[in-house]
Amino acid sequence: MERTEVINQLTVLFRKVFDNQALILFDEMTADDVDQWTSLSHVILIAEIEKEFKITFQMRDLNKMDNVGAMVNLIMSKL
């Protein structure tokens, strides 16, 4: 899967989880840039990503997702 394709699918998930159809993802985007991206919603997002991409994260992976770019890289490494 191409990176752009991952970002597109991820955008759909972000918009669904954070209930914001105007969200546009960028590599440097962090929780500070998105309303309602808290420790509570982060776990829901992770579960949605696992379901969508049919991958499994480890607890340790959570700490590697410093921003959206790192999240995309991690997803791609598991595909």
């Binding site: 808290t38 509570l40 776990v43 992770i46 607890m59 340790r60």
Partner: protein, 477 residues
């Protein structure tokens, strides 16, 4: 020796001077000696515990570093956590477990062979144990490098500004600062002193003055009516904020003067518009610690359960937070109440946001004020359990609040001084919250205004502060 003791006023300038005179590369030694001296001056024997936790953490994390298998690393991490948690459990919960077992066995007609043991909790044990656990987990997760210098690790665990009640700092922030210390800077000195002065104001003028009223009412629940109990209950959160917020600021200022940036522990919590936001502004270092090391692993393990998993994780996290405060039903209920409030907000979050954005409520002052007041009332209602001696007392307070109104108990001078202190504190917090950077006093560009404001605040502390060397509330935890 504590921050409000006379000895600290001698110890701290001498430590700063000693650090200034020590070459930068050797300064960790001066700070380590000062930290152990500070701790030993409170409880000499218990410094052995701090040293033991440091040695165990050092050995296990170094061992983890040279272990290749993932399972082996995990075993070492768990082993160290169990070892360093054992003293905390022993000192904090032995009495409660022992008494519980004794009364249970007595109920079944059996006798318990061990006598009742009452232990004095080593001050700060929770805080430095949590810091050591955090470091161990971070090393396991490869988030921080293993510290090879045992002296630096010992300093991280015993650093005197934080050792008594936090903030519960993270190795990722502190270890690099300890490894690369800079010069003692004049700017750090002034900003640290400003934090300390405001911290002393919060503690001595606000918290200790309010404490005089709250203690009188809460220590004699039977003889006070519902109105006085309600009033004392409403003042109590401000007392705790003044006490622990003040302590935290003094800790931050002390560290700043020595050249270290420590995370803030409070961020104007009473301007929160939800309980979730409140817990992002109140005892921030503990909540971050609980989030990273308890809530997130729990929620992650239950992520496929959706909202149910989040609710279970929240309830368990805050239940543990309650038990950490005290092995007592009052704090268990207090913790569960936080978990329930947060779970309710999490479940209704989507609906609430949709209503708020449809009617643009977030911009309307009356809606913001309503949510601020509601959040304060919810926290106050839980803190009644946190402050009462036992559940029966807490229930009696609730009963009296709703059924036994009467004339308010007034201690004129206490309430007048409290009113002055609380008003100044809230005006400053209000200004910082809604008009940041405007109408500065401590940071005013005009030297006269700046120095005049220092003098006025110090004068208020000396004139209206309770200068009896009282302890900080969080020392008991």
């Amino acid at each position: 020796m504590t921050f409000t003791s006379f000895n600290f006023l001698i110890f701290f300038p001498l430590t700063v001077l000693a650090c200034y005179l020590t070459p930068v590369k050797k300064r960790w030694i001066t700070l380590l000696l000062a930290s152990y001296f500070f701790y030993i001056s409170i409880q000499p024997v218990y410094a052995l515990l701090t040293a033991g936790i440091t040695i165990s953490t050092y050995i296990f994390t170094r061992w983890m570093e040279i272990t290749i298998s993932e399972k082996g690393k995990k075993r070492l991490m768990v082993a160290n956590i169990v070892i360093i948690l054992t003293p905390l459990f022993f000192f904090k919960y032995f009495g409660a477990v022992n008494n519980g077992l004794m009364s249970w066995l007595a109920g079944t007609g059996l006798t318990w062979p061990l006598p009742e043991i009452s232990l004095i909790l080593p001050v700060g044990i929770s805080f430095y144990t949590f810091m050591a656990i955090g470091y161990t987990v971070d090393v396991y997760n490869e988030e921080v490098k293993t510290e090879w210098n045992p002296g630096i690790l010992a300093l991280f665990i015993s650093f005197f500004p934080l050792v008594l009640s936090g903030p519960i700092e993270r190795s990722g922030n502190m270890l690099p600062q300890f490894r690369n210390m800079g010069r003692i800077e004049y700017t750090n000195l002034t900003s640290g002193l400003k934090m300390m002065v405001w911290g002393y104001f919060m503690k001595l003028v606000v918290a200790d003055r309010l404490g005089l009223y709250v203690d009188v009412v809460y220590n004699n629940i039977a003889n006070h009516n519902g109105t006085s109990l309600l009033f004392a209950s409403l003042l109590h959160p401000i007392q705790v904020y003044g006490d622990f917020g003040g302590y935290s600021l003094i800790a931050l200022g002390t560290a700043k003067i020595l050249g270290f940036n420590v995370m803030a522990n409070f961020n104007r919590p009473f301007f929160s518009v939800s309980v979730a936001e409140f817990w992002r502004r109140w005892h921030i270092s503990l909540i971050k610690w609980l989030t990273d090391y308890i809530y997130t692993p729990l929620a992650f393990s239950m992520r496929r359960k959706g909202m149910t998993g989040i609710v279970i994780a929240l309830l368990i996290t805050f239940l543990l937070s309650g038990i950490w405060h005290e092995a007592n039903w009052t704090f268990i209920i207090w913790g569960l109440m936080q978990g329930i409030f947060l779970s309710f907000e999490a479940i209704t979050n989507r609906k609430r946001i949709s209503v708020e954005s449809r009617y643009r409520l977030n911009k309307k002052p009356y809606y913001i004020l309503f949510n601020i007041v509601l959040t304060y009332i919810l926290f106050t209602s839980s803190l009644i359990f946190g402050r009462a001696e036992n559940v029966n007392d807490a229930l009696l307070i609730y009963q009296k609040i709703f059924t036994a109104p009467g004339p308010l108990y007034i201690e004129k001078s206490t309430l007048i001084y409290s009113f002055i202190g609380v008003s100044i504190l809230f005006i400053k917090d209000f200004k910082d919250e809604y008009f940041p950077g405007k109408l500065e006093f401590f940071n005013n560009r005009n030297t006269v205004i700046r120095f005049a404001s220092y003098i006025v605040v110090i004068f208020i502390i000396l004139l209206t502060g309770v200068l009896n060397g009282s302890q900080f509330i969080y020392f008991q935890f």
